[in-house]
């Protein structure tokens, strides 16, 4: 009984310690609009670490890890193998509801921010982010050096959709920080979640969340919703457009 009470007290105290700092963040733009000349963008995340009376006086240096996650989707990674002299897809793994965009930013190498144990639990670093696979009917993430998992991360990184940068977060003052969020031109449309995790001396202190969205507006949106909601009319319009273009060309280039 006494032990349980002690444990509860300890949890309460630790909980209080975690609430000793407050993170206040803001993204430079909460609504990125995709217009005809859109070709990628860079957002800026600003924030500050607010201390209060309960903050231990000796705690001065903070570490931050910012995780940006795009809309989730199912993806398949296939592996080619040589069979009968030709290279064909033989094996595949399905990744379930994984982020289509994933970025991890820190102010110094993730290994030096916290212990491997906490890094795994808090999903710090591309190796520790949870990527659920369907392995023969089972749902699980596998070891970080799994061939399909590392190929998946490598291919996404090549396209600029997955990234890890341990020097992207800069502290302007000991408590004021900023980081850029580069969005390549082919980023998926949708809602992006941003998680900011605070560490000090290897201990996880707390986190806060914010979000932004990438939306199509005007003509882009008109075309996209038209294609999705009125397939028949849209198809008819494209077919008529094809005929008109062909007809116009034959008039323009007529040589009589």
């Amino acid at each position: 009984m006494t032990r349980a009470l002690l444990a509860a007290l300890l949890v309460l105290l630790l909980g209080d310690a975690a609430r000793a700092e407050r993170l206040i963040v803001s993204v430079s733009n909460h609504r990125v609009t995709v217009t005809p000349n859109y070709s990628g963008e860079e957002l800026v995340l600003f924030g500050s670490v607010e201390k209060d009376a309960t903050t231990p006086a000796d705690r001065t240096a903070y570490d931050l890890v910012v995780t940006v996650m795009g809309p989730r989707a199912d993806m398949v990674t296939r592996r080619k193998e040589r069979t009968f002299g030709i290279w064909i897809n033989t094996d595949y793994r399905q990744f379930l509801q994984v982020p289509s965009y994933l970025a991890l930013f820190g102010n110094r190498p993730f290994e030096s921010v916290t212990s491997p144990e906490i890094a795994r639990r808090q999903q710090i670093g591309l190796n520790n982010v949870l990527l659920t696979q369907r392995v023969s009917g089972d749902f699980a993430d596998v070891v970080p050096d799994d061939a399909f998992r590392s190929a998946f991360i490598r291919l996404r990184t090549q396209r600029g959709l997955y990234r890890e940068d341990a020097s992207a977060v800069t502290f302007l003052t000991p408590t004021l920080f900023r980081t850029g969020i580069p969005l390549p031109a082919e980023v998926p449309i949708g809602t992006y979640e941003v998680e900011i995790k605070l560490f000090s001396n290897g201990a996880f202190l707390g986190k806060t969340e914010t979000a932004f969205e990438i939306v199509k507006v005007g003509f882009e949106q008109f075309v996209a919703t038209g294609a999705r909601q009125h397939g028949f009319i849209y198809g008819l319009a494209v077919a008529v457009m094809a005929l008109m273009t062909g007809w116009m060309a034959s008039i323009v280039f007529r040589k009589d």
């Binding site: 077919a239 094809a242 280039f253």
Partner: protein, 305 residues
């Protein structure tokens, strides 16, 4: 100049796409083929997903074959009777092909099937046309008379019909069968099928070269319009902006191509087309045989949210 494509969800260089459309349009106007087997790989190469590429190319082919068909129509190089008989088979074949496509997709090896059929079909048709073209060229160089047009077993079939414009008297059975086969292959491989139709009409049905190209264009036009509608209704993947850029480039190219095609002699034209088809076939074969740079590929199965 960069422009964002609303369905493909990525920005492209307008002039690059315009140039690609024009180049493929030129080839398609010259040989009377759709050019889908050239355009689709090009679009995938610049980063557009295969599904969007295939769906949008269909409308581009429709536009350039329509402008080409109009040009041939004015020169009275289209046989309306022959075209409508072909279409009867073509529509049936396309429907059958779409059904088979769905079945194959469920089995999971559709990509391989497509690549293999590309290799087999393109290299066979390409080398046949190429060797025939070389032989014809040698004959004319030697000054020998072309071999007399002999009648084969096809011309002994019943249900004969007179195709006035082409000046042939032919059974409708082989024509309908050719239409079905072309429609079927086209639906499975995502191509118009003009490059198979043209040689088949020349060598098997003995349709004179003067009406072959224009007539095959009519078949391509109708099947591709059908395919555009089908893609728009079922997959919602037709990118109208991409299609429009390709169309404008394509129809311009097709006009010049059609004119160039009229100037080149028949056998040289066949030789060139054979060479082109063969090289695309070889390229696909090489891709299958050589170890790919990356053994892994990712495919997205649709974004939620």
């Amino acid at each position: 100049m960069q422009l964002y494509l609303p369905i493909a969800d990525l920005p492209v260089n307008v002039f690059l796409v315009l140039a690609m459309g024009a180049a493929v349009g030129f080839v398609s106007g010259m040989f009377g083929i759709g050019g889908g087997f050239l355009m689709t790989p090009l679009l995938i190469f610049i980063g557009i997903t295969p599904a969007v590429a295939v769906a949008s190319v269909a409308s581009h082919i429709a536009a350039s074959s329509f402008s080409g068909a109009l040009a041939y129509w004015r020169r009275r190089a289209i046989d309306p009777a022959l075209a409508s008989v072909l279409l009867c088979g073509g529509v049936a074949g396309t429907a059958l092909g779409v059904w088979t496509f769905t079945q194959l997709r469920a089995l999971g090896q559709l990509d391989l099937m497509i690549a293999l059929s590309y290799v087999v079909l393109l290299s066979t048709v390409g080398s046949l046309m190429f060797s025939e073209g070389v032989r014809a060229l040698m004959r004319t160089r030697r000054g020998a008379a072309p071999p007399r047009r002999t009648h084969n077993w096809i011309h002994g079939l019943p249900l004969k019909m007179r195709f006035k414009r082409s000046k042939i008297y032919l059974s409708v059975i082989p024509v309908v069968i050719v239409g079905i086969v072309i429609g079927f292959i086209g639906a499975i491989m995502g191509i118009g099928g003009g490059f198979i139709l043209v040689p088949v009409m020349i060598y098997l049905l003995r349709v004179p070269t003067s009406t072959v190209i224009g007539t095959s264009m009519v078949l391509t036009l109708v099947t591709m319009l059908f395919a555009t509608m089908l893609h728009a209704i079922t997959n919602h993947l037709v990118d109208a902006v991409l299609a429009l850029i390709l169309m404008v480039g394509g129809v311009t190219g097709a006009q010049f191509g059609a004119r160039a095609g009229q100037k080149i002699r028949g056998e040289q034209l066949r030789l060139l087309l054979g060479l082109l088809i063969l090289s695309v076939g070889v390229r696909f074969a090489v891709e299958l045989v050589i170890r790919p740079e990356d053994l892994f590929t990712i495919r997205e199965l649709g974004v939620n949210g």
